[in-house]
């Protein structure tokens, strides 16, 4: 697989092994492509053909099994499991995780949990088992406990923290979601979308300090991606929310005048950029009406 090869090129070249590799490396969810090219790579639906690289064959079989589960094709998944078991036996942890996932897909939750608990007993930091236990958890309390258990073992996992942020948002705990998203932003500081999400969580939690943070992250998002409409609308909304909070603040609270000036400028900046983007579109009149409410009196 050369550096210029993208998926359409590899598909066209019928380079089955590299199609699978590309999908695995880029973490794409393309179960139909994987099962089709997997079968072509390994000699039809029995998947019996050997390759010169045995580990590549095993990795391909694992990938095809997971794609088969995505398509509810349990027969194909079982074929993959049998082919893998012939080579490695039934004891390796990686095989047992795959087996447990097949049980999950076949709705045998208890069977899957037995395997995950066994694996965690011999290795309490088996991250895959902890992840799958989180996926199996149903009640909110169980999900929170399972995700906490995972993150305790893997505190640097941004994806885990992102999952925590989503879970907390679902629960209505936007303060907790902000905490989790801060960890994600640490790992990916130049992703504008993350700054937008973090800003939105702070703005939803509200309060003077949170609204200042919301404004800063929205401004960062606009700086990273100047045409991002969600960031621009968000900038107008959260800066305005800050100004409203200032207007209703008690006289005892010290307000930074410079901060107020900045907020006003950001509302105007966001509104100006949005009007430019929507000019000529069907939505222009309504966007203009909406934004004039924010910029009135500034």
């Amino acid at each position: 697989m050369g550096p210029d090869d993208d998926l359409p090129t590899l598909l066209q070249k019928k380079d089955h092994l590299n199609v699978l590799r590309y999908i695995r490396v880029h973490q794409l969810r393309e179960p139909e492509i994987v099962t089709e090219h997997g079968a072509l790579l390994l000699g039809g639906k029995d998947l019996k053909r050997r390759l010169s690289d045995e580990s590549a064959r095993l990795a391909a079989l694992e990938q095809i099994a997971l794609a088969a589960l995505d398509l509810q094709n349990h027969e194909l998944a079982e074929t993959c499991l049998n082919q893998i078991r012939t080579v490695v036996g039934k004891d390796p942890a990686r095989f047992r995780i795959l087996l447990a996932r097949c049980l999950e897909a076949a709705s045998d939750k208890d069977g899957a949990l037995v395997i995950y608990d066994e694996l965690l007993q011999s290795n309490p930091s088996n991250l895959m088992a902890l992840k799958r236990k989180y996926c199996l958890a149903e009640s909110t309390e169980d999900r929170v406990a399972a995700l906490n258990a995972y993150l305790q073992q893997n505190m640097a996992d941004s994806a885990g923290w992102y999952e925590m942020a989503k879970l907390r948002s679902t629960m209505g705990d936007f303060g907790g979601a902000s905490f989790a998203l801060e960890e994600v932003v640490l790992g990916c500081p130049i992703d504008a979308q993350l700054h937008v999400q973090l800003a939105e969580c702070y703005a939803t939690t509200a309060g003077m300090e949170n609204l200042v943070l919301a404004r800063k992250h929205m401004a960062q998002a606009v700086e990273l991606d100047p045409t991002n409409k969600r960031a621009l609308f968000g900038l107008v909304s959260v800066s305005n929310a800050y100004l409203e909070e200032v207007a209703s603040a008690s006289k005892k609270q010290t307000i930074d005048d410079h901060s107020v000036v900045v907020a006003k400028e950001l509302v105007k900046h966001g509104a100006e950029k949005l009007l430019k983007q929507y000019k000529g579109s069907k939505m222009y009149p309504s966007v203009q009406t909406l934004l004039s409410k924010y910029t009135k009196g500034l």
Partner: protein, 212 residues
């Protein structure tokens, strides 16, 4: 003043039904949320004429503010905001979740005759509907009004979908039609195509044909 509060009856137009069901069906792995437009009729009836898809994630305050702001700014004076709809993330989940409940409460005003309604979709019944399976007895949409605890958990039993069997057929045929794509506010804000999220011409044409 009687102890039993008069419950609202809810009427859902075919196009709103199909729009909500498709919004959920086309975003199968996430929660979906949207606004309901229509009118309050008399003291006890809510008529829903349009369902406007807002997001396929948990909505935040700025997102809600933008959605309400643009919808109010485009208002033609006929329809007002009458409620909120949501479909839970998981297949077996039937609860709207705290965020949807909070939004429904915030949409309300002091006018007791204009109490917003919260519609919650039943994912399993929805899946059957999209497959064209009409054997299920479970309703695809359940309605809730304000209860004594000021939450929106009081079930409203009188909910009807106008021309229901045609609406269900329209939903199933629209689902398999690749040209009918529900664009919500988040799609509109994040995609460069700037597709229209408030009106869906392809869907309107389809409804006019299948459920006239």
């Amino acid at each position: 003043m009687t102890d039993n509060k008069k419950k609202n009856s809810v009427e859902v137009s075919p196009e709103s039904f199909v729009s909500m069901v498709l919004h959920a069906g086309q975003n199968p792995t996430t929660v979906v949320h949207g606004l309901l437009l229509g009118s309050f009729s008399g003291n006890d009836k809510v008529v829903i004429t349009k369902a406007i898809p807002v997001c396929h994630e948990t909505p935040t305050k700025p997102l809600l503010e933008i959605a309400l702001g643009i919808v109010s700014a485009s208002a033609d004076g006929k329809d007002v905001v009458v409620g909120w709809y949501t479909a839970p993330e998981r297949l077996t989940d039937t609860q709207p979740g705290p965020v949807a409940l909070r939004i429904a409460a915030n949409l309300g005003s002091d006018d007791a005759s204009k109490e917003p309604v919260l519609l919650v979709l039943d994912n399993a019944a929805l899946a059957d509907c999209l497959k064209g399976d009409d054997s299920s007895k479970d309703a695809v949409i359940k309605a809730f009004g304000k209860d004594f605890g000021q939450q929106w958990m009081d079930p409203l039993d009188k909910i009807t979908v106008t021309k229901e069997s045609k609406a269900r057929a329209a939903a199933a045929s629209a689902f398999s039609n690749a040209d009918i794509v529900i664009v919500d506010l988040v799609n509109h804000l994040e995609d460069d195509g700037a597709a229209d999220w408030m009106t869906n011409t392809a869907l309107t044409k389809h409804i006019a044909k299948v459920a006239p």
